[in-house]
Amino acid sequence: MAWTSVISTVRADDQGKIRERVYAVVLGGGLIFIGAVAWQLAVMAGAVDEFLTSSPVLVIEGVVKQIVSGELLVNIGISGLEFIVAFAVASVFGISLGLLMGRLRYVKYAIEPYVWLLYSSPVIALFPLIVLIFGLGAPSVVFIAIMLAIVPLIVNAMQGVDNVDPGLIKVVESFGGNELQLLRKVVLPASFPTIMAGVRLGMGRAVVGVVVGELFAGQGGIGYSIDKYASELNTTQVFSSVLIVIVAGLVLNFIARALERASSGWRTDL
């Protein structure tokens, strides 16, 4: 008797979970689907001008066209490379600087004002100057993306260090450990979750930096094509490119979250 009851509760549980999944997909997907259908019907009924508003069918066709022509691959290659370079540079500099600021409070106090200013300033406003220095194209885009991405990386690394249990620092001191050991064995592992959250935020801002940077200073990539198609008044391809950006954003966010979750297991090895 006990067995059957256990099994039946497990089943009920599973069923509940499956039902929730179905609800989530149907309800969330439903809104998007209804929106798309309404849009399509409005176009088909001639209620809106297809040239101005495009239509879901056209947008999907546009994406397919970009895939077939290889444009998508080229764009993803360019934007992806810019993203990777910017994000890597921002991570290395941002995390190191943040750790340094967390350990040395005078460095922190001296640099913090600039970090917050950078955070709240529209870096892209300086794009004419940036282009003048780095030239039109990838270098400028990478620079803009670095400036955007670096802020959460710095801030989180700093806060991570700030929040390290002082007792643990004392343990290292008491056992005669040096600053390097302190960093490797206590500060880094203890601040790792916070740093990884910064990495996720930094990734998001690097994407913004690349896309918006390309919008203004690019010579290729997804953001650049959005701008190009917009100036050609090619609504369909603008929508198609934006759809690609959205998918890329979702994928990257998914990767960042997976990375953040997986990273809690690495700490032992640090």
């Binding site: 529209p122 300086l126 100057l129 918006v212």
Partner: protein, 269 residues
Amino acid sequence: MRTPKRKDAGAPLTTSRAGSQESAVKVLTGCISIVVVLVAWQVSASSGLVDASYTSSPLEIVKAAAELVTSGELAQNLPTTLFEFSIGYALAVVIGVPLGMLMGWRLRVRQVFEPLLYALYVTPSLALFPIFVLVWGIGTTSKIAIVFVDVLATVVINAMAGVQETDARTLRMAHAFGAGQMAQFWKIIAPSAMPTTVAGLRLGVGRGVITVIVAELYGGVVGLGVMISAYGSSFNVPPLIVLALLAGLFGLIVGSLLRRIERSVFRWE
């Protein structure tokens, strides 16, 4: 007379004293750092060590700022930017806070809107701006729309998180006391979601300010971003920096003001 209690009793006093001294050190170090950078910048520019046509200099920037103010140019453009920002922001708050709270409270509502908002949240909303321009032109409407979209995601997600963080025990307690759904929402869920919600509003200010300016930069008729674009294309660097700094400082000041208000209002946190 357990040990931990006695320890706590003495602690806050010393820390708060050390704290006020520490914040003095912080402000002082920050100021010194800013002065040093400004002086180094000025010296390197006026000594010709770096090309001042690229980097400008603090004095030139101050001069440019004064000019922008006295010529009335700022007064001509600033209101438009503020207007676009305020309307877009207000719309996002008016729609976003209730929507977010509802999403946090009611699973089904959340399931309906989450995918869409999540997509909006993880993608650079400025990528949508060219579409808005195609639809509404380069005037005020497209700016309001982009600020709205950009701020909305932040506001909704924070309001939702705030509701979801409500202490389940408190809710059970209220339920045990016979509080109905509505009473639970207004007396427990909404107040306890406040701090996170307001933090979302603060984050929204920073994002919205940047967004409105970048949008104007992309295409506009009047506004700070349009000025920036004009000075940028003629490579007139000092006013360019003034305007970028102005936007940055605006975001910074409003942000920290809101943070301070948050701290004093939600002291229980």
